[in-house]
């Protein structure tokens, strides 16, 4: 059962990243933001033809994990959709880890 379907909202505690700058991969950087919104900045050579696809995948993946407030920086080198999804998921999970000691 997806968290979002249970109406759960997950908090991001820290900045996190996943992925790499290799060709075919994507670097996803995510940080918590105050406002209740998901903002996405995309840097990609394929963005003239795939920016909507990238945006939708990031938004959808965040939603599925119950994340409503996050700022994404996507540095893409032609990653296929499943790669992007995996990188966004990992970055979000890392960002959700509660701080060990303040």
């Amino acid at each position: 059962m997806r968290l979002a379907q249970l109406g759960v909202t997950r908090m991001l505690y820290r900045n996190a990243q996943a992925g790499s700058l290799e060709s075919g991969d994507v670097m996803v950087r995510v940080s918590p933001c105050e406002e209740d919104e998901v903002s996405i900045h995309i840097e990609s050579k394929v963005s003239p033809r795939f920016s909507n696809a990238i945006r939708n995948t990031v938004r959808q993946t965040a939603q599925e994990l119950g994340v409503r407030n996050a700022r994404f920086e996507i540095i893409d080198h032609g990653a296929l959709d499943f790669v992007l999804r995996a990188r966004v998921t990992t970055a979000l999970k890392r960002a959700m880890e509660a701080p060990t000691n303040a």
């Binding site: 003239p48 033809r49 795939f50 909507n52 296929l80 959709d81």
Partner: protein, 512 residues
């Protein structure tokens, strides 16, 4: 505007360039008229001038004229930038730059385009920053004319492209203008693309860094065509051609594609004693030569000749007597340069001899097997090698449409996906070579035979090679990549794609 035979809308008149006929089919538009002849001139005995500026002055270059260059140094070319800088310093404006091709090193001319020194360009290729600027902004008085190697020489010989001053980068020359590309510290090999410039330009300036005693032998371009000779420190950087020896790819996907292509060749019926072929210098195309070579050794079938841009790998096949001759318009590495110099079976060939559709016979019409590349190919098998998937110019027409028109087996090799872009698309962004000229597409996911060639399909079936439809390949690619979104384009035409016969096959619109 008119709709041409590949369904593209092309202009019938362009301000500054004149009238055009739409592309009507591969050999549908026959030649007409007479060959152009430059003014008869006698330069006499005093040709050696002290500087490039002195030569430009002596040439009589004025506002509005056309200057030409050849691209044998590829990205190691030093002459275009140098001459254009000099011309700009002299205050001459409004010139047409007629280069056989332009590379990323030529971004240095961008300021001279902005300032109106260069106001029109015709070339086979555009790359790097120069290509990007010309794709995004309307800076020239007329769209860039993209011509194939055969199309360029056709335009020169017919007088459509009149050259006022041709600059020839000569790795060695004598003071009367005899020159060749195979001797001297900056030897670049064949000068095939410069022959027409030397023969048809009103004035020819040979620029060399190695002046030798008369006569410079062997003579590629003769004293009878050259007006002035200038000595500079360096005409080009041979390392820019491609360093030393071209290496074969070790990319397993490219090797897989090449191996499949080789199986198609063997099954096609054209792999037989005395066959001829051309492969490119890069990726899977050159790797096809490796697999061909293995099959030649295994079966005892020998080839007769290879053509085109030549690499050390093809030279190796000549040395091992797997082929008897090489016809060379351009050396792609220094092994090829050495071979052209030392081996009489390796022959320099002009662009007209190679690919001019309006000459009595060109070599591309005799070729058996041609390996072609593609940035995109569509469901009609039309091929784009000029613009990237972002609509920006990044490639060259080159010999692609020429060899595809003439050769008996025309195979496109390409990975099914490049970056995130599917190679098979509904409609290519830019048609350079019509699908009528393509027999099959070979990808790592399978071979799609053009329905126009049922005989090839039957032969592959008999040989046990599975084929797929090009639609299936597209679907397979899009399952992985998703369907690309539409590009945002302006109304302005930034380049015209001329087919080799002088008709218009497509246009390139400004990228927003």
């Amino acid at each position: 505007m008119a709709i041409n035979a590949v369904g593209r809308e092309v202009p019938t008149y362009v301000e500054g360039l004149g009238e055009f006929r739409p592309y009507a089919g591969v050999f549908a538009t026959p030649p007409k008229g007479r060959r152009f002849g430059p003014t008869i001139r006698r330069t006499g005995g005093k040709k050696l001038l002290p500087s490039l500026r002195a030569a430009i002055e002596a040439s009589g270059l004025k506002d509005g004229m056309t200057i030409s260059f050849h691209h044998h140094f590829r990205n190691g070319d030093l002459l275009v930038n140098r001459v254009v800088n000099e011309i700009a310093a002299m205050g001459i404006k409004d010139l047409t730059l007629a280069a056989s091709s332009l590379q990323s090193i030529h971004k240095e001319i961008i300021p001279h385009i902005r300032s109106g020194v260069i106001t029109a360009i015709t070339t086979s290729g555009l790359r790097g920053e120069l290509a990007e600027v010309l794709s995004r902004e309307v800076l020239l008085k007329a769209p860039v004319m993209i011509r194939s190697h055969g199309g360029r020489v056709r335009a020169i010989e017919s007088g459509e492209l009149k050259i006022d001053v041709a600059f020839i980068a000569a790795p060695n020359a004598d003071e009367y203008g005899n020159l060749n590309g195979i001797n001297g510290p900056t030897a670049c090999g064949s000068l095939g693309y410069a022959f027409a410039d030397a023969q048809y330009a009103e004035c020819v300036v040979a620029v060399t860094d190695t002046l030798v005693p008369y006569p410079a032998i062997p003579i590629s371009i003769p004293q009878t065509q050259v007006d002035y000779v200038v000595v500079v420190d360096k005409v080009g950087d041979p390392q820019g051609i491609m360093s030393g020896v071209t290496r074969l790819t070790r990319d397993p996907m490219e090797l897989l594609i090449a191996e499949k292509a080789c199986r198609v060749i063997e099954a096609s019926g054209l792999f037989r004693e005395g066959f001829s072929f051309q492969v490119g210098a890069g990726g899977s195309s050159l790797a096809v030569a490796r697999f061909l070579r293995e099959r030649m050794a295994a079966t005892g079938v020998r080839g007769r000749f290879a053509t085109g841009g030549i690499t050390g790998y093809i030279v190796g096949m000549l040395k091992d007597r797997l082929i008897d001759a090489i016809l060379d318009t351009q050396c792609f590495d220094l092994v090829a340069v050495e071979s052209l110099r030392d081996d009489p079976r390796h022959v320099e060939m002009s662009a007209s001899f190679y690919a001019n559709p309006h000459t009595k016979t060109c070599t591309s019409d005799i070729l058996d097997i041609m390996m072609l590349g593609a940035t995109e190919i569509d469901l009609d098998f039309n091929v784009n090698v000029m613009t990237g998937s972002d609509g920006i110019m990044m490639g060259a027409s080159g010999g692609h449409p020429d060899t595809a028109a003439g050769a008996k087996l025309r195979l496109v090799t390409a990975p099914l996906i490049r970056g995130r872009f599917p190679i098979v698309v509904d409609r290519v962004h830019t048609v350079v070579t019509p699908g009528e000229c393509i027999d099959a597409l070979v990808t790592q996911y399978g071979v799609a035979v053009n329905p126009r060639n049922p005989e090839l399909k039957a032969r592959l079936k008999d040989a046990g090679i599975d084929t797929v439809s090009i639609e299936e390949l597209q679907e397979r690619a899009e399952r992985l990549t998703g369907k690309p979104e539409e590009l945002a384009l302006g109304d302005e035409i930034v380049a015209l794609i001329e087919y080799r016969d002088g008709t218009l096959i497509d246009t390139v619109r400004r990228v927003i």
